[in-house]
Amino acid sequence: MAGLGGTETLGRKSRWAILDLVVVVYALVPVLWIMSLSFKTTKTLTDGNFIPREWTLDNYKAIFQTSEFVRALGNSIGIAIISTVIAVVLGTMAAYAVARLDFPGKKALVGVSLLVAMFPQVSLVSPLFEIERSVGLFNTWPGLILPYITFALPLSIYTLSAFFREIPWELEKAAKMDGATPAQAFRKVIAPLAAPGVFTTAILVFILCWNDFLFAISLTSTSASRTVPAALSFFTGASQFEDPTGSISAAAVVITVPIIVFVLLFQRRIVAGLTSGAVKG
């Protein structure tokens, strides 16, 4: 390869390198910018410097002293975790049936479940608001948890069933032949094989619930159940007379960094999950 048209390859390579660079800058500058803002003092907030001239943790201290934010963070964590656990458990059951069992009406039922992923959610928000108001779920934790589980189910069933199809289930039989009880066969053979898929799905579902904005602003009205994304849009700063920029950027970092760290730690698994799930379908 080297001898043939070396200059052309070089030119081409540098063109590709420039494209890569532009994409990385476009992707990363805003992320780094928000971090930089969150460490700036009130005075230097608008100086346009990429690296803060004076570093401070005041923005973080301020938001953690704001009950509005602390409540919202608690709501976000609780609601997202509960929704994720339930959606993954129900998704696992459904995906097991879809991937391993054959039964009449399977195609239709799977279709009915997965179709929901294509629903424009906004067309359901106002009837959900009605229902929740009439049964007293409006502005409560379950009022957000139930729609979150529901809208996470298609994703969860889809990804999990793709995973489950890849599991060599004969191993279960083999383990039983070797004298394992069904419980042992499940715990020692099937569960470890299924774990990466379940785990990936859980992360995806968690992000879905954690970042949701539409339901969060439509189905809540006070800090009793408002999650961070919804609270942020009402956030006016630690005190009324202060520019909220610093506080909002600190809050944005607080809700973003855990997810980024989480995903980076398990990136390989997530990529594997997407490979066998979303794409091969």
Binding site: A27, P30, A94, V122, S123, L128, I157, N211, I255, Q267
Partner: protein, 313 residues
Amino acid sequence: MFVEVVAPAPGSPPPRAARPPLGRRVVAGAQPYLYLAPALALLGVWTYRPLAQTVQLSFYSWNLLPSTPMTPVGLRNYQRLIDLPDLGQAAVRTVVVIVGLLPFSVVIPVLVGLVTRQVRDRARVVYQAMVFAPTLVAPVASAAVWQWLLDPGAGVVNKVLGTRLNWLHETGSAQFAIIVITGWSVLGFATLVVSAGLAGINGDYGEAAQLDGASRGQITRWITLPLLSPTLVFLVLMTVLLSAQWTFPLIDTLTQGGPARATTNVYYLLWDYSFHSYDAGLGAAAGVLLFAAFGLVAAGLVRLSERLSFHDD
């Protein structure tokens, strides 16, 4: 039902041995449904029932207050929607958003995916991680950071480009800004999907073609891209169906559909109808239309994809 039970002849083996008892057979037959039941019940109660209610509500006039009655108005809500210019304009803006997002959700990810495929494993993972990061930023947080980047006074974008635009508050640029911000958050996800799709392509075809003297461009054009087509169709489908949904948090925090409705697409219009205008019937009718339109487009695209996709089977 009356079934005559023949007493088993003495000495003959009980029929149970040949076939499991009815009870157990019913349980075994019902098992898949039992596994699916909780998920289906939730989907029924929280998506299909509200959907049916939306359809019903679209034939009524109601201001969302429990104390006031709903009055049936037949097709008048639909009539009003079609007469009002809002919906048509919002539909056009939605198409603009979808077309505007395709470079970010399909074209650039494919280019980046093809390039990074030739990069070493380690470097590729780092690169993917960097590009993927924006996808994880909560939309409200990205709205906040872009608001400062696009600030007419101290914003970096104006400084770098040497412009003095008030990006989010001018009719000409607001829609463009929304597309670029949405594209920013979608790009990483799409790149990851493309890389996953490329990883699933068997390298033997390319190697065989190379031995036969095909250039890299030819291999990409005639082998890689056709084999990647299921992934591409998936991304196009997602873009068409979800673009308006992706823009919603940004529009709500940054422009509220303005200036002069320049960023009001069907998704935001619908939300506006349902929650700001207190006209539930009109909102519901718009919801039904949106639903039907998206359903038709989705069905069409799925059809098309079945015809276009080359599968590596």
